[in-house]
């Protein structure tokens, strides 16, 4: 076996190695956290739609994402109702409303869904009972999202406050989460919705939900529905609308850019730290490297040694970086009581590992120049 020169050189300088590992681990953690948040946010977008009891979604082409859905005629869902394989069609009304925190008396925009209480619009278990439907039907009564931010105030059933200066009573709770768009959500009946957003014509809907029969293929049904409807609505499968919203939040807003920047900055920091370490290491071994050249080692060997050092640093730094990231993920999950689902995925693990190798490799390639210059004629 070849003497593991790269490894032994690194291990020999304990402090330097410690700094290098800390630097790489730091970069790894930053990358994991940024990707974790980004992943969590896009998860949230998906989780939101997962609670809709629908397979196809009709939405206006002008909508950027669900909260900016512009109304379109309710006739569109009636047109679809007759299509073969369609089990049910349901209207959904959405808008923001000012919710007053009954304790602080401060108003804050909350995202409101209006549904027909007779429709099984949501899969949320809290809305399925007849009792819940009856509560929803009561005037000026809404269901409140437990995952709303605490700034909205108490969530208990029976809490009374104001929404857009109208009295409102909390009739029950559910757990949905507002995803990117909303800090909190409420669900109310279409009749209440019309009242709060007066004048709001119920024949103009925000989203059309289509439930297909069991065995019907969503993609095929989508094509059939698109065929049928005019240009003023777009048709999406559940994955399709999730992808559309996600794309908006990550790419059209600066969210993706910001987290991408976070990753880039982390990598640059990592490259600089590892470069510093490798450069110092090479500088302090110039005479030895030059001696190796005099003995008959080729530049390629030294090149390889430095790259090996950088890969070793990548691996040694990745391990604690990964473990600490797992702990931070767990802490984030706990701190946000599950509303920010930062979870480790195998893909991300592999991706960040490769990124780390790449990062250290860049440092290696920059510093390798120095070792190539080691001149055996100068050591005499």
């Amino acid at each position: 076996m070849r003497t593991p020169l790269a490894f032994l050189n690194l291990v020999h300088e304990k402090t330097r190695l410690g700094v290098a590992i800390a630097g790489v681990a730091f970069a790894v953690i930053l990358v994991f956290m940024n990707l974790g948040f980004l992943g969590a946010l896009s998860e949230t977008a998906a989780a939101f739609y997962a609670q809709f009891n629908a397979d196809l979604f009709l939405i206006s082409p002008q909508a950027l994402e669900i909260t900016t859905a512009t109304p379109f005629p309710i006739e569109r869902i009636y047109q679809v109702a007759g299509v073969e394989g369609v089990e049910d069609v349901m209207p959904l009304y959405v808008n923001y409303i000012q919710w007053r925190n009954p304790e602080t008396r401060e108003n804050r925009a909350i995202f409101a869904f209006g549904i027909n209480p007779d429709d099984p619009t949501f899969l949320l278990p809290e809305l399925q009972s007849a009792q819940a439907r009856n509560s929803l039907r009561r005037p000026n009564t809404v269901f409140f999202d437990r995952l709303s931010r605490p700034e909205y105030g108490p969530q208990e059933t029976g809490t009374r406050t104001e929404a857009d200066r109208r009295d409102v009573t909390i009739g029950g709770q559910y757990s949905l989460g507002g995803g990117f768009a909303a800090d909190g959500t409420i669900i109310m009946s279409d009749q209440n919705f019309r009242r709060y957003f007066n004048p709001f014509p119920l024949d103009q809907i925000s989203v059309g939900l289509i439930k297909l029969e069991e065995e019907v293929d969503a993609d095929e049904a989508r094509l059939a529905v698109m065929e049928l409807l005019p240009e003023d609505v777009e048709v999406y499968t559940k994955e399709g609308i999730i992808a559309r919203d996600r794309n908006y939040w990550i790419n059209a807003t600066s969210t993706g850019f910001i987290f991408g920047m976070g990753v880039a900055v982390a990598l640059v920091v990592g490259v600089v730290i590892v470069y510093q370490i490798l450069y110092t290491d090479i500088s302090s071994h110039m005479k030895q490297y030059a001696t190796l050249k005099a003995m008959g080692y080729r530049s390629g060997f030294l090149f390889y040694t430095v790259l090996q050092e950088s890969v070793i640093l990548a691996v040694l730094g990745f391990i604690p970086g990964f473990i600490l990231s797992m702990i931070l993920y767990q802490l984030t999950l706990t701190a946000t009581s599950g509303t920010l689902p930062v979870v480790m995925t195998l893909t991300r693990f592999i991706f960040v590992f490769i990124l780390t190798i790449f990062m250290c490799g860049i440092s290696g390639l920059i510093s390798v120049n120095k070792v190539i210059q080691a001149d055996p004629a100068e050591v005499f």
């Binding site: 291990v11 190796l292 004629a377």
Partner: protein, 275 residues
């Protein structure tokens, strides 16, 4: 000193036939020598900064000879050593090392030449991170001998009296011990040619003496050629031959007896400067 032209009449081997001035043919006709230098000039720098440091060097080092090169600082000894060691490229003259003309060789071919040369520097240049044995093994690995490298390294270190220091890192070794490890590294592949530049400069009197005696012993046993630069006149007695370099020219070329008789031992160093 007679004012002879450097190079002319300097070679101990007066039997050598007149050397043709063209390169290439020289090595073919002459008897084998470890190093053969003809009409070598060497310059540092380029253009206006070009400075000649070696002038018209002619020198033969037969196999098995221990040659000490001495001379004032800055006279070009180290430069000549690096040229013979294939560490710099020569452009003028002919330089044949171990029966191979190295003038005109590419970098990669020079590396191959170097693998047959043992180098000993003033500083030991050992890796602090490697034990004595591992430092020596780094040299053996060049020969791709993976099985016996440890054995061979230990054996070499034992010959140099370091059997109980094999697994020590340089930090735990004395200066003399470190230099002996460096010598073990230089000798372990049994190079026919050994180049040493002031190998005892960093050592105290006794370890310096020991190191040189060991080099001499190993060289004599194995028939190696040694070219050693030194200012240390306490070790001159190991030499078969002493050459002196002054201002980039070979000034004298004598055996030990001649050298001693032509130099007042008390003021040896000073005499060398005024020559």
């Amino acid at each position: 000193m007679t004012d002879t032209e450097p190079g002319a009449g300097m070679n101990k081997n007066s039997s050598v036939a007149p050397i043709p001035s063209a390169n290439g043919t020289a090595t073919a006709v002459a008897e084998p020598v470890a190093v053969r230098i003809r009409d070598l000039n060497f310059f540092f720098g380029q253009g206006d900064l070009r400075k000649q440091v070696l002038y018209d060097i002619n020198l033969d080092l037969p196999y098995g000879q221990i040659v000490i090169m001495t001379g004032p600082s800055g006279s070009g000894k180290t430069t000549l050593l690096t040229l013979i060691g294939a560490l710099r490229t020569v452009r003028e003259g002919s330089l044949s090392v171990l029966d191979q003309e190295i003038v005109g060789l590419g970098r990669s071919q020079l590396v191959d030449v170097r693998r047959n040369i043992g180098f000993i520097f003033q500083a030991h240049n050992l890796f602090d991170s490697l034990t004595a044995s591992k430092n020596v093994e780094m040299a053996i690995e060049l020969t791709e001998d993976w099985q016996e490298k440890r054995e061979r390294a230990v054996e070499m270190l034992t010959q140099l009296g370091l059997s109980d220091r094999v697994d020590y890192k340089p930090k735990s070794l004395s200066g003399g011990q470190k230099q002996r490890v460096a010598i073990a590294r230089a000798l372990v592949n049994q190079p026919p040619l050994l180049l040493a530049d002031e190998p005892t400069a960093a050592l105290d009197k006794k370890s310096g003496r020991d190191v040189v005696t060991l080099m001499q012993k190993l060289a004599k046993e194995e028939g190696r050629t040694i070219l050693m630069v030194t200012h240390d006149n306490r070790i001159l007695d190991v030499a078969d031959r002493i050459i002196t370099m002054v201002d980039g020219r070979l000034e004298t070329d004598e055996n030990l007896a001649q050298f001693v008789s032509s130099h007042d031992p008390k003021s040896l160093d000073r005499r060398m400067f005024v020559m």
